[in-house]
Amino acid sequence: MRRHSLLLLVASLILAQCSSACGGGVNTTTSQSDSHPSEPSIALPVKANSVRFAVIGDSGSGDQYQYEVAHEMEMARQEFPFAFVIMLGDNITGGHTPRDFQRKFEDPYKGLLDAGVKFYASLGNHDRTNESLYKPFNMGGKRYYSFKRGNVRFLALDSNYMDPGQLDWIKKQLQSSDSAWKICFFHHPLYSNGKTHGSDLDLRHRLEPIFTQYGVNVVFSGHDHVYERLKPQKGITYFVEGSSGHLRYHDLRRSPEMAAGFDTDRAFMLVEVAGNQLYFQAISRTGQTVDSGVLTR
């Protein structure tokens, strides 16, 4: 009986290890306990006049891991000089005192802020709406807003409160945009294989038809504290990057929709848009490339 239990235990350990490490594209090549930070090796072309930016989500933890990701971003910028960062919400989690803004945003990204890198925030469920008036978030006092860089139109949406007014605004913005690339970013993912939250089905029901009708190419979301790239859904590539401060270890479930995933350490993304190509690279807190590739429109 005892021997039988031992065998069962060993078998379940092997299965658990295999389910996270072997399957579904969930990349577990590094873990937060056994890897040390190193300079990331940039896999992006750094073409002239390209639009270059970084992506962080669920960053506002204020713990040492957030600072380490921020440091890795600074190192990456030496080789890949991105001009701005998009934030996928939960920019400040927990308290919202001035000290929290300092500890969870101003201090970790001081190097980037001092270098003139702009941050464009969207609101998560842990954010407060008055963050839209916080100048370093460049939201212009609005819950949702739009900006253009090169041939890319960015829409920062408020997925906490997708009211009819915002839905109309999205349609108008996309309809009137002549940009080659249309990128939306917001907190709650339309597609996610995170076990904790997963896909927001009602939000998907309302947004996906608009995105497909008006030619959105790429969507970035957070909320699930993992990195995931999904296989294109109705022609749109979805990324979940919710691990730039917080992490839910082994939170990804295997799915045929998943193209790549990483749930064993914090991460951020670098993106470069050049002509009809969008290059992306996901980098862990320790500088390992956990996913990279190119999308063509």
Partner: protein, 213 residues
């Protein structure tokens, strides 16, 4: 004969808020009726001319009037504070929010649950939410609502939303079915309760308990 002891739901009829007749909700028809009755204290409720299908419109109008009253108050308090524009000072943001919340709370110190969501309006909102959650929407909305359930999170009317608590997202399909709000307010579901929140003050203005079936 005094005014009716319960709220009247016929279109154009005045509605009682905290026992006080709110004359700005009177329609010209009602005013005329009141005049012809000699103002003898008999308040006419023109039920025969108003079919029950108007009940929804009456309640929504009542709700919007109450909201408009609140917004007036919000603007008065906001006008008494230094104007807030985009700022790099988190201190300034926090202070403005706190002063706004304190000012509004003090100005409606007597406000209790039901000040805006009267029993009749609450019943109508519950009906609208039930309607939105029927058919193919039901599964999607319920899935989204799983995140709204936070055991132990207690929202108190006329008090700030708990600072460290997450603000659950509101399913867009529900928002499509609920009366439109001015930008100063929004709806949030906390557990099964529907909370009406002052956005800039981060203040719970009112709530409907057990709004979600």
């Amino acid at each position: 004969m005094g005014p009716p002891p319960v709220e009247c739901h016929h279109y154009g009829c005045a509605v009682h808020l905290n026992g006080v007749l709110r004359p700005r909700t009177l329609s010209p028809l009602v005013v005329l009726g009141f005049f012809f009755l000699g103002g003898a204290g008999c308040f006419p409720c023109p039920a025969p001319q108003n079919p029950p299908s108007n009940r929804h419109a009456v309640l929504v109008e009542d709700f919007q009037n109450r909201v408009a009253q609140y917004i007036k108050l919000h603007k008065q308090v906001a006008a008494s504070l230094p104007a807030l524009k985009s700022t790099a000072s988190a201190q300034e943001l926090a202070q403005h929010q706190r002063l706004l919340a304190q000012g509004i709370s003090a100005a409606r110190i007597q406000a209790k649950q039901g000040a805006i969501f009267s029993p009749a309006i609450s019943a109508e909102f519950r009906r609208l939410i039930r309607m939105a959650m029927q058919g193919s929407n039901a599964g999607r909305i319920r899935a989204s609502l799983k995140e709204a359930v936070k055991p132990g999170l207690r929202i108190r009317v006329n008090n700030p939303y708990p600072e460290t608590a997450a603000l659950p997202s509101t399913p867009p399909t529900l928002l499509l079915n609920l009366p439109k709000l001015p930008p100063e307010l929004d709806y949030h579901l906390v557990g099964r309760d529907l909370v009406l929140r002052d956005v800039a003050a981060d203040l719970a203005v009112d709530l409907i308990p057990a709004a979600i079936p």
